[in-house]
């Protein structure tokens, strides 16, 4: 049995944010990722060091556009945003006050101050906008800080998480993948806020399962707000977080001296032999699928490792091949070169027929 600290070695734990937490839900079955994330290992650095750097660059144009849009919404004490929220949530006009929490410097102080204000608001009546509050969530046994764009409190006591995104909603429609990613992120905030309220003795149900997504409308900079139901996202998220809290069985199976410490020298340059790290990664089961490419920093490494598996060609390919795990086996069963195991009879018959059909049609 090893420990997360030992696995991580001397490096500082990599901090999570709502985006990385949201990414956890994309491949919940993968032990490798669960262990890495629970231990706070810097996957991006590790992947680059073992020769498979991730490619998750962001264009400065996209970043600028996002910042400009958010600034515009929040100008003059969130004037524009308030107008939108009044419409979509029915916030009464006089009651709204505004707390900018970003100005508090220290992380802990900011989190404390956020907790204090939010819990006080839960007891009271006043409608308040909280700007950049700092929330905390326990991930794999460690507390991570989260920074929602905004949390609005409706008159009558319901909290709404507001998420500002700069992708456009055109004639009422937006890119489904982006909406889904934004909803998952917002769900992380909902969860963190619910736990915060619950700890303070309030009803976590005060936080709505609907989040307010604010995006530019059509081709303009004019914002439009939409309510998005995140209940499904919440349950997936809770399941995955619970799983990460229970990584002990996985840790137990690992050798006690396994570590992903890069052993940087005094100038910070890693000295650890790459082969050792590759070997170490291989000790933790992965579950690669092509979806990893968009979601996990280790994707190119895992893809390389998964060469020759049918799953690396896509989940549907594996399913269509009757669940046969490897390319070679699928081909051998199809050609009849290998006799199927008992539970492969059906798949093998199908593969043989498929191979016969292909050769008949292509000859």
């Amino acid at each position: 049995m090893t420990s997360p600290e030992r696995l991580r070695g001397a490096a500082a734990p990599k901090s999570h944010n709502a985006r990385t937490i949201a990414a956890l839900t994309t491949n919940p079955g993968c032990s490798r990722r669960a262990v890495m994330d629970a231990a706070g290992i810097d996957k991006e650095r590790l992947a680059a060091y073992v020769g498979f750097p991730a490619r998750f660059g962001q264009s400065q144009f996209a970043i600028t556009r996002g910042n400009v849009f958010e600034a515009q919404l929040k100008a003059d004490g969130c004037a524009e945003l308030l107008r939108l929220l009044r419409e979509v949530l029915g916030l009464p006009i006089p009651q709204v006050s505004y707390d900018d929490l970003e100005s508090v410097d220290q992380l802990d102080a900011r989190a404390d101050r956020s907790r204090e204000l939010l819990t006080r608001a839960a007891g009271g009546e006043s409608g308040t906008l909280f700007d950049h509050p700092l929330l905390r969530l326990e991930v794999g046994g460690r507390w991570v800080y989260l920074e929602p764009d905004l949390i609005a409190l409706q008159f009558g006591g319901t909290f709404y998480v507001v998420e500002i995104k700069s992708f456009a909603v055109i004639d009422g429609q937006a890119d489904g993948t982006k909406v889904s990613a934004a909803a998952t992120q917002a769900a992380v905030y909902v969860l963190a806020l619910r736990r915060l309220l619950a700890e303070a003795g309030h009803d976590p149900g005060l936080v709505s399962h609907e989040v307010v997504l604010v995006c530019p409308e059509n081709f303009s900079n004019r914002p439009v707000a939409t309510l998005v139901d995140v209940r499904k996202k919440l349950s997936v998220l809770e399941r995955q977080l619970a799983r990460m809290a229970r990584i002990d069985p996985i840790l137990e199976s690992l050798s006690p001296d396994l570590t992903f410490d890069l052993r940087p020298d005094s100038s910070g340059v890693p000295q650890r032999p790459v082969a050792e790290l590759v070997d170490g990664l291989g000790q933790i089961d992965a579950r690669y699928s092509p979806e990893c490419l968009a979601n996990c920093e280790l994707a190119f490494f895992c893809r390389h490792e998964a060469r020759g598996t049918t799953a690396s060609l896509g989940k549907s390919v594996r399913e269509e091949l009757g669940g046969v795990p490897s390319v070679d086996l699928a081909l051998s069963l199809a050609s009849g070169a290998v006799a199927p195991a008992d539970d492969q009879e059906e798949a093998a018959a199908m593969l043989r027929f498929a191979a016969q059909l292909r050769s008949e049609c292509l000859s």
């Binding site: 144009f61 970043i63 556009r65 530019p216 081709f219 004019r222 390919v317 269509e320 498929a354 292509l362």
Partner: protein, 487 residues
């Protein structure tokens, strides 16, 4: 994904090159397609950044927006694109043919050819749709006036984008989609979305496997993305400083370098597809495309409104039903044209192939009022036949003839199927030679049908029930549409 395609993918892995999943080409390919590779500025709602466009490999035209955030420059880009695009479209408005009257149609004129737009991927189709949306409502006079060609471009782009959703249409094709219909690679569908990787698998350079070529294709320095999204590193290190410097020549050469590799890939894709023989029903679908093109051209000539922002309830339901019927027909047509597609249905038990072992071409059924010709054939098949007696099947070899399954009995290996035939044999009581399968002929029978299906009945536009919003008002673009921000 079918099991046959899945098997083709694993074969591609082991052989190192993409495998055919079609024996014929299922898309129409113009002799003179317009290749259009748009790039958009990251973070913005479809803000054009550049495009490479042209209808021959040797003469690509580069269009660049010097300040992609500037509204006037965007419209200037649209006007320059319109010059290329509309003259290309117009060049097909020459010769027409007369289509004789059909069961429910009057005789009509139809252009003998139609424009075909090729974009690299699904994102390219989305770009066409959104550029159409952001330009078609613009006014050509008063405040915010734009060049007259701009709203016209918008309407044509919208026409093409809507047509691209229609199964079997080839007016606007995306290259990754078109290639992916005909070849299975040894990588996943996610990776196939990269045109360079896909072409690398289909046609790897000498001495390289498809896997090697695909891996190399993932390096954005050698193979920049095929758009509309650009490589973030390119944005940060090359594009941003060039825009900042405001130097058109620098911007042009940078963007040309991003676009040219894709230009080459697009034309390689064209020749890969051209090398496939066209399926027999491709021409028929292209005729429908030509009909649609002719119809839209005259609608525009008559001063019809631009396409609405959103369909009304009835129009949306009608459209959906139309697309569903087109999909069913398109699936059947491809299977009829291509034994390898038909084989997918054999694998799932929706078709079987076999050899005729007995034939009674003169059999008469006299049980009814009228004596009718009902030949019977016996087909022995080694496929797992899963049809029940009474089911109707058709063979692509004789599409106008229907076979009713009379009996299915197991043989030592395979099945023996007796079919009773009707149709496709003229009106008399003797079957013309060749109209009934003869002993020894090898045939495939399937439940797929390409016969005409009556469209579902929908209430007329003015009778839209209140549950669906009541009768929609005619969509007339208003001031808001015309002056809509594009920032």
């Amino acid at each position: 994904m079918s099991a046959l395609t899945a098997l083709a993918r694993v074969s591609a892995v082991s052989s190192g090159v993409a495998q055919r999943i079609a024996t014929v080409r299922h898309v129409h390919l113009s002799d003179r397609p317009l290749v259009f590779i748009p790039l958009a500025l990251a973070g913005e709602a479809n803000a054009p950044l550049a495009a490479l466009v042209g209808s021959s490999f040797d003469s690509p035209q580069l269009l660049v927006v010097l300040q992609p955030r500037n509204r006037d420059e965007r419209f200037a880009f649209a006007a320059r694109l319109a010059a290329v695009f509309l003259s290309y479209v117009d060049s097909f408005r020459g010769e027409t043919e007369t289509v004789p009257a059909g069961r429910n149609t009057d005789p009509r004129e139809r252009y003998v050819d139609a424009p075909q737009i090729l974009v690299p991927n699904g994102g390219g189709v989305g770009f066409v749709r959104l550029l159409g949306r952001s330009t078609r409502f613009r006014r050509t006079e008063g405040e915010y006036a734009v060049e007259p060609s701009v709203p016209l471009l918008g309407r044509w782009l919208t026409f093409f984008a809507e047509r691209a959703e229609y199964p079997g249409s080839s007016l606007l094709l995306n290259m990754t989609g078109a290639l992916g219909m005909h070849w299975a690679t040894g990588q996943s569908a996610v990776e196939d979305a990269n045109l360079a990787a896909l072409v690398g698998w289909i046609d790897p350079p000498d001495g390289m496997t498809g896997a090697d070529a695909a891996l190399e294709a993932e390096d954005p320095l050698t193979w920049p993305p095929a758009g509309p999204a650009t490589d973030p590193t390119f944005d940060n290190e090359i594009l941003a400083p060039a825009i900042e410097a405001g130097s058109l020549s620098r911007l042009e050469s940078a963007l040309r370098r991003q676009l040219e590799p894709t230009w080459e890939l697009m034309w390689r894709g064209v020749s890969l597809l051209r090398n496939l023989p066209p399926g027999a029903r491709v021409e028929r679908r292209w005729a429908e495309d030509r009909d649609a093109f002719t119809g839209y051209a005259s609608y525009v000539d008559e001063g019809g409104y631009p396409q609405a922002r959103r369909d009304g309830a009835v129009a949306a339901a009608q459209r959906l039903a139309r697309l569903e019927r087109a999909q069913v027909l398109y699936d059947a047509q491809r299977a009829y044209d291509d034994p390898l597609i038909l084989a997918e249905y054999r694998l799932t038990g929706e078709a079987f192939a076999g050899t005729v072992t007995a034939s009674a071409p003169d059999r008469i059924d006299d049980s009814g009022k009228r004596r009718v010709l009902r030949p019977r054939v016996t087909v022995s098949s080694s496929d797992p036949v899963r049809f029940e007696p009474g089911v109707s099947v058709v063979s692509p070899a004789r599409p106008s003839q229907t076979g009713r399954v009379v009996s299915v009995s197991p043989l030592p290996s395979g099945f023996e199927v007796v079919l009773e035939l009707s149709g496709g044999m003229g009106r008399g009581l003797t079957a013309p030679p060749g109209s009934v399968p003869e002993v020894g002929e090898r045939l495939t029978y399937t439940t797929l049908t390409e016969s005409y299906q009556a469209p579902a009945a929908f209430p007329a536009r003015e009778e839209t029930p209140w549950t669906h919003g009541g009768p929609p008002v005619e969509y007339v673009p208003d001031d808001d549409d015309a002056v809509e921000e594009w920032s």
